[in-house]
Amino acid sequence: MFLGRALAVSAILFSLGVTGVLMRRNAIIIFMCIELMLNAVNLAFVALAQQLGADGQVFVFFVMTVAAAEAAVGLAIVIAVFRHRESVNLENINLLRG
């Protein structure tokens, strides 16, 4: 019963994260939503690890490492963009347009 609830929380958190990425335009908030999605996945890993062995917990460490690195690079980019444009609104940043 515990696993079911834990996975439900994880799913809700992940959906919140996705929704945030889809709806918001502020780079920092999108960034935080991505972190939310990562941690939702972490939660699912940990919950499943209790039943299926320690592999899931090892994965969580990897995810946390990647998330930390991503946070460093991502925030640096956000700062750089802000210095350039005085804004972190992603609607103004469309250099990739074909």
């Binding site: 992603l90 469309n94 347009r97």
Partner: protein, 660 residues
Amino acid sequence: MNPLAGTAADLVGLTVLLPFLGFLVNGALAFLRPQAKRTVSVVGVGSVALSFVLGVFVFLAVLGARPEEPYVRTLWTWMPVGDLRIAAALQVDQLSVVMLLVVTGVGALIHLFSVGYMGDDPGYARYFAYLNLFIAFMLVLVLSASFPVMFIGWEGVGLCSYLLIGFWYADVEKAEAGLKAFLVNRIGDTGFMIAMFLIFAQLGTLDFVAAAPAAAQHFARGSGAVTAIALLLFLGCVGKSAQIPLYVWLPDAMAGPTPVSALIHAATMVTAGVFLVARANVFFALAPVAAAVVAAVGAVTALFAATIGLKQWDIKKVLAYSTVSQLGYMFIGVGAGAYAAGMFHLVTHAFFKALLFLGSGSVIHAMHAAYHHTHSHADAQDMRNMGGLRAHLPVTATVMWVATLAIAGIPPLAGFFSKDEILLAAFTRGAQDPLYYGVWVLGLAGALLTAFYMTRLMLYTFHGPNRTGDLERPHLHESPAVMTAPLVALAVLTVLGGAINLPHVASLHRWLEPLTASSAAIAGAPEASTGLELGLMALAVAIAVGGMVLATRLLHPEALLPADRAPAERGFAKLLLEKYRVDEVYDALIVRPVVWVSRVVLWKGLDAGLIDGAGVNGSAALARGLGWIGSRFQTGQLGTYVVVFVLGVLAVFGTLMGLL
């Protein structure tokens, strides 16, 4: 073991190598030191002369060993592909050694003549480089042991011919004459190549030694395949040896320097077709229809070209049409199965026609020098501007009379024996196939015209009053010794050349027997009775003398006017002067339609329209269009990407769920 192994015949590769080295040295000098004329002369003449000396040794070896089988000297394997194994091999036998001597011997004399004739030309080194390269390729052609190696020589001499016809390439007309020769020859070469493919497909070999017995075994006499092979080979000969309908390039080839006309377009290269028929004689013996075509084309060409020669004013043009006509005689000989007679005429013709061309070169040299002195622009080759040159060029006049008597067929000069033997062969072959009687009649008519136009040439050039011009006349001089010496040497050969096939002296016929025996066994060798032989001989002499007498009676050199004051020709004479307008007909029927199709259909339609338009630019436009559509998806908005991404993930999961 061939009796020639270990003798001088092993040196045969050197005879090819020496002129080729001469080409390399002279070619390098042409770029680096074009003024070093003395070195160029020594290398150019020396390499060919040395080659001739080696050729004599090879000849003596063959004479001593009398091999029944050809001696094939394999140098290296050239093309091993599947069943096809082509070796770079040279073949020493009775036929190739005769050609070896003619090519290097006459070639050396003409090289020597060129030292004088081309002495003042700025392209002296280049000229000798080409000439040496020609000798090397010609030797490859005659010494080759297989069709593909022969083809190398065949194309090589064609290249040298092109280069030397257009030697003075700054003159557009001359450059175009070279191009014409090259293009017309391509038609014939296509036939040669297809014939080679057929031979390989049918017999599995391209070596002469293996192909002849294989052909005799494989083909039934008169079967379609062997007739096709023989006719296609003959198409190659028609191009190279300037027969109807591809003869049109040879008269234009006179744009080249005169010694080139003597060497390439009279004595050696143009006779390659006759040599090829003699070399592939088994195929022609197996295909009587093809042999008849050879003889018929030869006969028609012999008469047709002779009629054009009657009315030409350019001294070299007369000789050019005479060459076409004489090549026709050679084809009558080989077509009638008398390969020895055809080769005999080839050899004697090489002597007297080289002599005639070099003689005309000597005349042109003198005329040119005289006109150069007075800065006149009159035509140095027009016989109407000559006349009475006997007094100014006594040596040239004498040797050219010798050659004229020889070509007309006056005994005991070389041309008499060879031409007589060809006509005799055609006549005796008539007993088997009446067509050859027609060939014989055409040949006789051609002989009459030959005697006539040659006498005309001599009368207008050397006799009667001089028409060169009063200012120029004192500047007409005999050529230097370096030019007259080869003339005298060739005159001696012209006088004595008939001896190589004289009963009781030497017999070219028996000499070539090891190579022609099998085709004689297939096609039969009709014998003529001595009485018939003597009768035909008397008739031939009567016709030759008749032609010369007729010319002296009908022509009046003293009534001739110089070229710029001469009245225009009318009627049939005009048609002859314009060479029956064959060039114009070819131009209208072939050249212009081809150019039109090339320009309108192939260039503007196919190349520019289809390939460039639809193919190249079309595919580029297609790629750009697709790229434009693809780029519409790239909004640059992160949100859009994420939406698409999430939708994608959902779609994938949805599908997976559905599958589970």
